[in-house]
Amino acid sequence: MAFTILDGGSFVSDAGSKDIILPSSADYFKFTNVTQMAASGSTCVAGEWFGPKFLTGQTAANDGIRWRKAGSHAILIDTFATSTATNGFTYITESPVVEAQAANAITAITAASPAVFSQTNTYAAGDIIRIYGTTGMLQYGGIDIQISTVTGSGYTAIGLRAAGLTAGTAGFTRRISRYNAVDPEYMYVTEITKGSTTLVRTSIDPTLYYVVGMKVRFSVPSSFGMIQLDGLTGTITALSSADYTMTVDIDSSAFTTFAFPLTTLSPTARLFATLAPAGASTQYNPNTMVQTGYNFTLQPFHTGQFTPFMRLGGGGAGNATGAENDVINWLAYKLES
């Protein structure tokens, strides 16, 4: 048998990107959007991807053959990288994961909290991108952020607090995988609110990697002001996916204020403030029946991003993962020869 179907499955789309792990890799991959198949209009109903074994015929990153509806019964075939660029297939084989995509130019970053980016893009809400080569907002060059409220011309970075800083006028981004090679992973700290407990904002939603009861150790260079927090370990008591925040049981009332160093101090101001996983404080309260430290999904050190995997790009009905609640069937094939 020269062509073997290795694996297949089905998922309900949330309109965002979808990563499908492929333990035995793949040479050919296809999906069918069974929801859109029954609809009329010009939505994507199927896609095909050809791997490196097809040499010059292999599919480029974030591309692939797209089957679109052209009315209720007709089909139009093009590629995801048409003049109205949409998100197709990206096959990723190694970690740490930086997707094989061209650098994407930023035209502006607002000096606001949260910061708003202007950029022609094909990103989807929830994507994580790395910023570099910034002009103006130099202190964020090299940081990873998660984005939301995405349109084709820009997005918001909830975790990036830029009020009072110099606005960014240029820069570049690349999308990276949602999970690092190993999790739980270190995270960038972008804002700290002092108090009897400490509210910490991170550049990415911390609920992806942390749960209540886990401990985190802070690394805060003196250029960020709050030197008293440097080297302290705290236990997480609350997390917010909406605000990208975590509360830790450290009394920071008397600490000096946390602030990103000014652009004028770049590149000699030491960056970044980060937190890293430091285990858990395992507890069980028999009175409240609340237990912490027994989350065996996120808490133990484990492989974060399984490779290889196929990323189906999100962003709406013209993209690989279709519209929200679309049912997508997929099949992965392998050439034996």
Partner: protein, 318 residues
């Protein structure tokens, strides 16, 4: 009858080539990421998550008895639990019988050797990924190349030493004592630092660097060791961690984990030691034409004490 000189143009060798007596070396990168980790073992039949626990030290605040008979406040002991998930990795090679039949070399033996090398290399990269993913790094800023992070400098290395010493980290390597050999200097007991070979030229330029050949004694030194700077001995590998295009100016950022003893752990699985196996043709193929070699191993990994590990993000000078 032809006349003339018999030469290789009219009398070619029966065999157009001969097989050299030795195979050429298979490239293997420096394995630097495992030896600094503590080795633990996980028992079988009790789940795939291993918990390592540490009791935190008691506070030294207060404690004086004032003679009133009032006892000091009891302190709640704090325990930190570090968990790691056991994972299994495997690699396989399927060989058609015509390869073993016609190849000049004993391919099954050689392929088995390759799989053994794969196991060591894969383990090394898995530990590298642990260090690069789950540790807080600090950008170097003292190098002066105009980027953020900058190239490595003595001040940046000293800052990491300050952090580790301030957190009571213990050095991993013993001092190399002075001898009377000309041009050598003793090295202090040291933490270790693991860097990409791309950084090696910058390491040579760091103030106070002592290259390995200037150590007073070469006995027992690992070939991967490159130099000593401040309180760190640097080991280099072509597979050292790096992040493409992540600096302020869009250059590659190299992460250099720097740590002492018990900062990280590597956990092996009892009843599942590293396995090199062979499946004969009558098992693999319905017509007994393909055989299979495979390698498998189990590993869990963890940062066991974040206070005893730190590191630098650096770019390079050139």
């Amino acid at each position: 009858m032809a006349t003339g000189i018999t030469n290789i143009n009219n009398m070619a060798p029966e065999l157009p080539l001969q097989f050299s007596e030795d195979l050429l070396s298979t490239p293997m990168f420096n394995l630097i990421h495992s030896f600094g980790a503590d080795l633990h073992y996980a028992d079988a039949h009790i789940g795939k998550t291993t918990r390592m626990s540490r009791y935190e030290r008691l506070s030294t605040n207060g404690g004086q008895l004032d003679g009133s008979g009032i006892d000091p406040a009891p302190e709640v002991v704090v325990r930190s639990d570090i968990d790691a998930t056991m994972e299994i990795y495997a690699k396989t090679v399927v060989i058609n019988e015509q390869v073993t039949l016609y190849e000049n070399d004993k391919v099954l033996t050689k392929f088995t050797s390759l799989l053994g090398q794969w196991m060591r290399e894969k383990e090394d990269l898995l530990m590298r990924d642990l260090y690069s993913s789950s540790v807080s790094y600090i950008n170097a800023v003292g190098g002066g190349n105009g980027d953020q992070p900058s190239n490595i400098s003595r001040a940046d290395v000293n800052n990491i030493e300050r952090i580790l010493l301030g957190n009571d980290a213990r050095t991993m390597l013993e001092s190399v004592e002075a001898t009377r050999m000309i041009g050598t200097s003793p090295t202090r007991d040291a933490f270790i630092a693991l860097a990409s070979t791309d950084v090696s030229s910058d390491l040579q330029n760091v103030s106070g660097v002592l290259l390995k050949n200037n150590y007073p004694n070469q006995d027992g030194l690992r070939p991967e060791e490159y130099c000593s700077i401040s309180r760190f001995r640097f080991f280099v590998s072509s597979k050292g961690a790096k992040i493409p295009g992540a600096s302020l100016l869009g250059n590659t950022v190299y992460t250099i984990p720097m740590f002492g003893v018990e900062a990280a752990a590597k956990i092996e699985q009892n009843n599942y030691s590293a396995i090199l196996g062979y499946r004969p043709p009558y098992v693999v193929s319905s017509v007994a034409q393909n055989s299979q070699l495979y390698a498998k191993f189990a590993i869990a990994r963890a940062i066991t004490n974040q206070n005893w590990i730190s590191g630098l993000n650096v770019t390079t000078l050139a």
